[in-house]
């Protein structure tokens, strides 16, 4: 647990492991892996000081492909694990990552409460509007008329979940959207998200070429947000009302104080606590 005295510089390669990804050729998540490692190199954070936590899904396989401390947990629970790590070891850089199903469906409650709690960490969701790992079912961000899933052959018929709206309403301290195809731009967003205190949420449009081949067209659809980031939640909310889902860039930078309980002992030992029991 020693801190590094000198400040060595790292390259993106220092954050990659030897493990070969299971992802399909062309999957957007490869590029996200590249962006995360670039961001860490940019920030020069020693690999052993980073904890990268995920749930279950194609995207959630990511930690094992890095050379930081990883935790590949169960479906939907990356955020509580990340919370436990950060609150108990505040000196670590903590990142949670995963997919849209993992984060917005089974883990939706944790997403909302992580935004509210505002622990200083970064949450990266690789959104492909589908459950890739279980072979192509609709996720909360899937359009209501997408009919390619065997589970919902008529489409879901329900409105998609809007992660940025929820994040803003629930109190996330930093909100951005990026596109996996723009590896450097995304690395910049992640760098800023990690630097920003409190809970930073980054939605990354990351195509699933296997079950949503039409997402290959996303590269032509994304466009930089027309306006600069704001620190005013009301303005951010107005912008989201006209959001076409393809605006990339930082939307909101808040200044809410991160949640970090004091850890200052006021007694010398457990025996001091026992006095309350003595009659």
């Amino acid at each position: 647990m020693e801190a590094t005295s000198t400040c060595p510089s790292y390259s993106a390669r220092d954050y990659k492991s030897e493990v070969k990804p299971v992802w399909c050729p062309g999957c957007g998540d490869y590029s996200v892996l590249g962006s995360i490692t670039k961001a860490l190199a940019e920030l020069s954070i020693p690999p052993e000081s980073v904890a990268l936590v995920s749930g279950i899904g194609c995207s959630s396989r990511l930690p094992a492909y890095t050379n930081v401390f990883g935790f590949h947990g169960v479906h939907g629970r990356a955020l509580p694990i990340a919370t436990g790590i950060k609150v108990s070891r505040p000196e670590l850089t903590v990142i949670a990552s995963g997919g849209d199903g993992d984060g917005f469906s089974i883990g939706g409650n944790h997403f909302m409460h992580a935004c509210r709690r505002n622990v200083d960490m970064t949450y990266i969701v690789m959104d492909n509007e589908v459950y890739g790992m279980t072979k192509g079912q609709a996720s909360p961000t899937t359009a209501p008329d997408w009919e390619k899933s065997k589970l919902t052959p008529q489409g879901t018929g329900i409105n998609p979940f809007h992660p940025l709206v929820i994040a803003l309403a629930a109190g996330a301290n930093f909100i951005a959207r990026g596109f996996s195809g723009d590896q450097n731009g995304t690395a910049q967003l992640i760098t800023e998200a990690i630097r920003h205190p409190g809970f930073s949420f980054v939605q990354l449009l990351s195509p699933c070429v296997t079950f949503r081949p039409e997402q290959r067209d996303w590269k032509d659809m994304v466009h930089p947000a027309a306006v600069d980031p704001t620190d005013d939640p009301a303005r951010a909310a107005r912008r989201l009302m006209t959001d076409d889902g393809f605006n990339v860039g930082v939307l909101y930078r808040g200044s809410r104080k991160p949640f970090q309980p004091e850890r200052q002992a006021s007694v010398d030992s457990v025996a001091d606590l026992e006095k309350e029991f003595v009659l």
Binding site: M1, E2, T4, E18, V19, P46, P47, E48, S49, V50, A51, V53, R61, P63, A64, T66, N67, V68, F69, G70, F71, H72, G73, V74, G76, R77, L79, P80, I81, A82, T83, G84, I85, K86, V87, S88, R89, E91, L92, N109, H110, M112, H113, P261, E262, R263, Q264, A265, S266, V267, V270, A271, D272, L273, E274, F277, V278, L279
Partner: protein, 572 residues
């Protein structure tokens, strides 16, 4: 007539101050050198409904109830009838109540106990600021022979912050009650206290579990409230903070268990407490702790089930889910405290085992242990600590987090240790932690996770074994209290029998139990579960000698010593 143990119930409507009276009687008895035990019961209202404080005072340590109550004192009678089944009494018993306290409940009358009046309301009016519950406290203290000093001392200390007037009024009320008691029909008086060398503690089982946790080294707790486990968390919140630890209130039990997995992975011994419904939500992630070999401790304070069940009452019916609720082959620890005081020891031991063996430990306490209060001799710190095997020195080659060692325990690095980065995984993995579905990796890691629990030396703590003879009573958890008492009576009546109360429920210890049952011809299994979960567990994992009988029934009523005594006495 003096007795070594006297049982009293205070009852009354919400706001009558029944619990305050009970707590003060308990503290006063403790200060005067007696042991005392108290459970509480309340109606369905969230707040302010009728309540009963069931007490037992004794010359020797006491952590469970007797067969019957000697005195029932009702400050008023509103809805008190609904506690009737919980307050067994005989014709020797004494029922005290206010003639102006409302209609006398038929169910109480049906007990056939002696009756006497105390005009609480009238007496209270005659004292400025007089309090009926303090009069009741004084009356009971007078009846059973508690010294006035001890009672007044407790009144003074507890009302110190309420101001002079409140204190004098309460003191006067207690005195009035004591004076009134002189004219009441006699009831058993407590025999002289056997001098205590040390000052006793007043503690609940849930507080004891919290104490065991921090003694063991727990410094991170995630919490989601649920009856009857909440008080473990509520005791830990301020006390962890004093130790420089942290408690986080989570959004649900899925979050609380995963937060403690995260904190433990980061190197901080971690725990949560819950009850049946919460444990059910946690089972998937308990499996994650097992597979990723991340130590965690979950204190499950059992209540009546299934589903929301009977939240405020005890039952031993979460045994199955604790043992078998995890999917896959997921060996883990299940440890059960068998007395209120043992909640401290067993929790501390579980924390120590979880960290030593890098796995999940479930502590199976229950409502009757957790929410009861007793005066106990201060439990010494047994010294168990959460200590983990960690890698040492520079990492020479790629770190194998899940190295297949002989003991099954592999050195566990924590974030910050340079060169030891790895990814913890709930997917089956190889020694490095890399996901693998290869048959060889699966069986090697399954074997390793089983072996580390199997080969560990648990010492003598796996069970409490007392007495001898060719009859054995086999039990666990809170039913151990009444079993102990039944066995005392059985021995006093000339019988010979031994007690085996299993603390380490999982992993099972067949050889040790066989040794403990050497020469036994009859085994009586005692548990509080409709489905005989403990009996079935014993049948599945152990060879029980001779003939076996199972005495089991569900909550909410506690199993009483005499029920067990009858089983023994009638089995010939």
């Amino acid at each position: 007539m003096t007795a070594r143990s006297v049982s009293i119930t205070f009852a009354g409507s919400g706001g009558a101050g029944v619990m305050t009276a009970g707590n003060m009687l308990l503290d006063a008895a403790g200060r005067a050198g007696w042991y005392a035990y108290m459970t509480r019961s309340s109606g369905a209202q969230i707040r302010g409904g009728e309540a009963a404080a069931m007490m037992r005072l004794s010359t020797s340590p006491v952590q469970s109830h007797d067969d019957r109550f000697d005195v029932l004192v009702a400050i008023d009678w509103q809805n008190v009838g609904r506690f009737s089944a919980e307050i067994p009494m005989t014709s020797d018993g004494l029922v005290l109540g206010d003639p102006d306290g409302g209609e006398f409940p038929e169910q109480i009358g049906a007990k056939g106990a002696r009756r006497a009046d105390i005009p609480f309301k009238k007496m209270a009016k005659e004292i400025e600021g007089g309090r009926p519950n303090m009069i009741a406290l004084g009356a009971v203290a007078g009846l059973v022979g508690l010294p006035e000093d001890a009672v007044l001392g407790v009144v003074r200390d507890s009302l110190a912050k309420k101001g002079e007037a409140a204190r004098t009024a309460s003191e006067a009320s207690v005195r009035a009650g004591m004076a009134f008691a002189a004219g009441l029909p006699a009831c058993p008086r407590l025999a002289a206290a056997e001098g205590q060398s040390e000052r006793l503690w007043s503690i609940t089982g849930n507080e004891a579990a919290g104490l065991g946790a921090v003694r063991g080294g727990i410094r991170f707790v995630a919490a989601y409230p649920i009856t009857p486990g909440t008080e473990v968390l509520e005791w830990l919140a301020p006390n962890l903070a004093k130790l420089g630890g942290v408690l986080v209130q989570a959004e649900d039990e899925l979050a609380s268990i995963n937060q403690i997995i995260g904190a433990s992975y980061a190197g901080v011994p971690s725990l949560t407490a819950t009850s049946g419904p919460g444990l059910a939500l946690m089972t998937e992630s308990l499996g994650l702790a097992v597979a990723s070999e991340t130590p965690i401790t979950v204190v499950n304070v059992m209540r009546g089930g299934p589903s929301t069940g009977i939240p405020v009452k005890s039952e031993q019916s979460d045994l199955n889910i604790a043992l078998y609720g995890l999917h896959g082959d997921a060996p883990h620890l299940v440890v059960a405290p068998n007395s209120l005081a043992d909640c401290a020891f067993s929790t501390q031991w579980a924390v120590h085992l979880a960290d030593s063996l890098q796995t999940a430990a479930i502590v199976l306490s229950d409502q009757s242990l957790g929410q009861s209060r007793a005066t106990i001799a201060p439990p010494a710190d047994p010294g168990f600590r959460a200590i983990r095997l960690m890698p040492e020195g520079e990492a020479a080659e790629r770190y194998r987090r899940y190295t297949n060692t002989a003991s099954g325990v592999s050195p566990m690095a924590v974030p910050g240790m340079k060169g030891y980065q790895y990814t913890a995984d709930g997917l089956e993995h190889n020694e490095y932690g890399t996901p693998s579905s290869a048959a060889a990796d699966h069986s090697a890691q399954l074997d390793k996770r089983l072996r580390k629990l199997a080969v560990h030396d648990y010492g003598q703590h796996w069970a409490d074994i007392e007495g001898d003879g060719d009859i054995a009573v086999l039990t666990w958890g809170s039913t151990t209290g009444p079993v102990r008492e039944a066995l005392e009576r059985f021995r006093a009546s000339g019988g010979r029998a031994r007690l085996v109360s299993i603390r380490l429920i999982s992993p099972v210890r067949p050889e040790q139990l066989a040794a403990a049952l050497e020469g036994v011809a009859r085994v009586l299994v005692v548990e509080q579960s409709h489905g005989a979960q403990f009996h079935r567990y014993l049948r599945a994992h152990y060879d029980l000698p001779g003939s076996v009988r199972a005495f089991h029934r569900p909550g909410p009523l506690p199993i009483r010593p005499n029920e067990i005594f009858r089983q023994l006495a009638d089995w010939s």
